[in-house]
């Protein structure tokens, strides 16, 4: 076999059979399950009289609907309560591991997979959730699927796939101080567009990517889907092995040694080629802020909101105008003049311990602006516990932030955490679509540092010259 990319290596290791036309039966190692996209899949199994092929390959957790206030009160919305009890019952019936709402290990599905050591390099990982791309940070081929395919994986541990194309996104140089993986991925999406990665698996390479911690790589890979990509990958290195080691579900002893050898071999060979290449320089990436209604509508913190009058292309002009109308923004105003009502620090993009540490640094000893309502929603019970041990909860509370229980929360506002129409929010989540955080709500995507500083100032600030 000639030179191969990391993607090709993982793919080839998982081919169960391949038809002459390239249709491939691909083996799936891990399956994460949550309450919103699974009930119809379990129902399908029942109707067909099927059972999971490998129940032990799956792990289920409720995250989208769970309340982030006192869990002892239960769930007030009967529909949400039913969806969660349905998941619990399905897992009991089919023998699937389940972390319930009161379990300290409960959290956002893409936070707990890596945290538990369920996510390992070289795996194929799926979940009925588009942000499954997060797990690519470990050099695992991880992608989102629909509910029919959730059922397919439960029943067969396989998926029928065609080999996607590949794209290398190389970020060389060094990142300016105060810039984060979130800024890098937003800049990438701004560059290639929200459809730029369609049909492709992205591998992120270059010195800037290498310098990221595992949590930073998760933030990066998480938003691969916002560029339209099927999945994002970072090849495993010593950081990956160190992160994985000793977690509850990672291999132990000699098996760990054997596994880590295999993991460190998982890299793109010299001379292997990608279908597409995109290059960015780290030096050129300042903090990013989205101004519009998709993640590609993004600019630098010291930039301005676009003016449709300056846009020649008619379709783009109309789309820009429409986004500005929805967002309630004047054309051409500086990003730092945008005034905020809410700040949300959380989501599978930015709710891990490093995110909370960075945000706390900007908040320490300060007060949230009087006109802003701010909240922190840790990604899991264990992240929350760790933050509390470090005293981060006290920093946030003292500044006027609410400190909540873990879950998806206002990333998609399926529970009680919702923007009211017209409210404007700086959010560390991944989607600024119309109504995403509540009907009529206006979302600006930023890094944890940018969100924390904005909470204090009441508007966006350039954190590079803000103290």
């Amino acid at each position: 076999m000639g030179s191969q990319t990391l993607f090709e290596k993982i793919w080839n290791q998982h081919v169960v059979r391949e038809e002459p036309d390239g249709t491939t039966l691909l083996y799936i190692d891990r399956h994460l399950v949550h309450e919103v996209t699974s009930p119809q899949a379990f129902e399908g199994l029942r109707l067909a009289g099927r059972t999971p092929r490998r129940a032990g390959a799956a792990l289920a957790v409720p995250d989208h609907n769970v309340p982030t206030t006192d869990r002892k009160q239960g769930i007030s919305d009967p529909m949400s309560a039913l969806q969660i009890s349905t998941l619990e019952n399905n897992c009991a019936e089919f023998g699937i591991s389940y972390f319930g709402m009161e379990d300290i290990r409960q959290g956002i599905v893409h936070v707990i997979g890596p945290e538990q050591g369920l996510t390992l390099p070289g795996m194929t990982i799926v979940c009925g959730d588009s942000h499954t791309s997060t797990h690519g940070a470990f050099g695992a081929l991880a992608f989102g699927i629909g509910t029919s395919e959730v059922e397919h994986v439960l029943a067969t541990q396989c998926l029928v796939q065609k080999r996607p194309k590949t794209m290398e996104i190389r970020v060389e140089g060094t990142l300016p101080d105060y810039c984060s993986p979130k800024d890098v991925i937003l800049a990438i999406i701004g560059r290639i567009g929200i459809g730029g990665g369609i049909g492709q698996v992205v591998e992120y390479t270059g010195s800037v990517i290498r310098s990221f911690s595992m949590e930073g790589r998760m933030t990066l890979c998480n938003m691969s889907i916002e560029a339209g990509a099927r999945a994002g990958l970072v090849s495993p290195d010593e950081k990956t092995v160190a992160y994985v080691k000793g977690r509850p579900l990672t291999p132990k002893g000699e098996m760990f040694e054997q596994a880590s050898q295999a993991w460190l071999d998982l890299k793109t060979d010299q001379g292997a080629t990608f279908d597409n290449l995109v290059e960015l320089r780290g030096e050129n990436i300042p903090p990013q802020v989205t101004w519009g209604t998709n993640p590609g509508m993004v600019t630098d913190v010291n930039g301005t909101v676009p003016n449709p009058a300056d846009i020649a292309d008619e379709k783009l002009r109309l789309a820009t105008q429409r986004a500005l109308d929805y967002m309630g923004l004047q054309p051409g105003i500086p990003v730092c003049d945008i005034q905020l009502d809410r700040v949300f620090i959380g989501s599978c993009t930015n709710s891990r311990i490093e995110d909370l540490r960075v945000a706390a640094k900007y908040v320490q000893g300060k007060r949230v602006s009087g006109k802003v309502k701010a909240m922190v929603v840790p990604g899991s019970g264990l992240v929350k516990q760790q933050a509390e041990e470090e005293g981060l909860d006290r920093v946030f509370r003292a500044a006027g932030f609410e400190w909540r229980e873990p879950g998806c929360s206002m990333c998609l506002a399926m529970n009680a955490d919702v923007l009211t129409p017209g409210e404007r929010c700086a959010s560390t989540s991944n989607r600024n679509f119309e109504g995403r955080q509540g009907k009529g709500g206006r979302t600006h995507l930023v890094s944890p540092a940018m969100a924390a500083a904005a909470a204090v100032a009441g508007h966006f600030v350039d954190i590079r010259d803000w103290a």
Binding site: V16, R17, E19, D21, T23, L25, Y27, V36, T37, P39, Q40, E43, R50, R53, G56, A57, L59, H64, M79, L82, Q83, S97, L118, M123, G128, S130, G144, I145, G146, T147, S148, E149, E151, H152, A155, T156, Q157, C158, V160, I194, G195, I198, G199, I225, G228, T250, P251, M255, F256, Q258, N294, A319, L412, A413, M414, R431, F433, E434, G435, K439
Partner: protein
């Protein structure tokens, strides 16, 4: 799954690029544990104006598109969330085929699981159909999957490509899981081999 061979019907225009699945069906409709009855949620936030009255500009509120079975739209349709509720809602409304210059991957795939045919045409072909739909009431076209062609009443034939395996499943209305289970012995052989090569992949998720 409902088989798909040929669908002839009224075309509904949705002249926007990058329509995400949060718009196709907003989150408040995702709390269901069923896959039917979702048309209530289809484009729920776009169908209404902010005061709750129907948006007269939206296709579903216009009598000429009431019987539409084909949706015409722009690039990157179905981006964002993987929710299969999006194709379920479209199907529940009566949409059997969607024409666009490009689709988001997960949505595209989800359509095939539900007997909805997503058809990629060139931007120019899509524009031509938009022009015709807007200028003629009850404009109807035919989407022919076996022949892989979109037929316009004026005589144009727009060929499209589709994966042969997917096409076969759609035309025959096959159960994908049943097909995979025919390869049970290949799956078992794979598992036996891999669990020796890389045993850590086969540890159970129970702690």
């Amino acid at each position: 799954m409902q088989a798909f061979t040929t669908v002839s019907g009224i075309v509904a225009p949705l002249d926007r690029a990058d329509v995400d699945t949060d718009q196709i069906i907003p989150k408040q409709y995702l709390k269901t544990i069923a896959r039917t009855g979702l048309k209530e949620g289809l484009f729920a936030d776009w169908r209404q104006q902010s005061d709750g009255t129907p948006n007269p500009d939206f296709f579903s509120n216009q009598s000429r598109y009431q019987e539409a079975s084909i949706l015409l739209t722009r690039d990157n349709f179905g981006c964002g969330s993987s929710r299969e509720h999006a194709p379920w809602a479209l199907l529940d409304y009566g949409i059997r085929s969607i024409l666009a210059p490009s689709f988001a991957d997960i949505f595209y795939n989800n359509c095939f699981q539900n007997g909805i045919l997503p058809v990629v045409l060139t931007a120019q072909e899509i524009q031509t159909i938009f022009d015709r739909v807007l200028s003629k009431e009850t404009y109807q076209i035919t989407v022919d999957l076996p022949e892989q062609v979109v037929l316009l009443p004026e005589g144009e034939r727009y060929a499209f490509t589709v994966d042969s395996f997917r096409k076969d499943c759609m035309v025959k209305g096959l159960d994908g899981i049943g097909l995979t289970l025919k390869h049970e012995s290949a799956i078992s052989d794979y598992e036996t081999r891999r669990s020796q090569e890389a045993p850590w992949l086969f540890q159970n998720s129970t702690t």
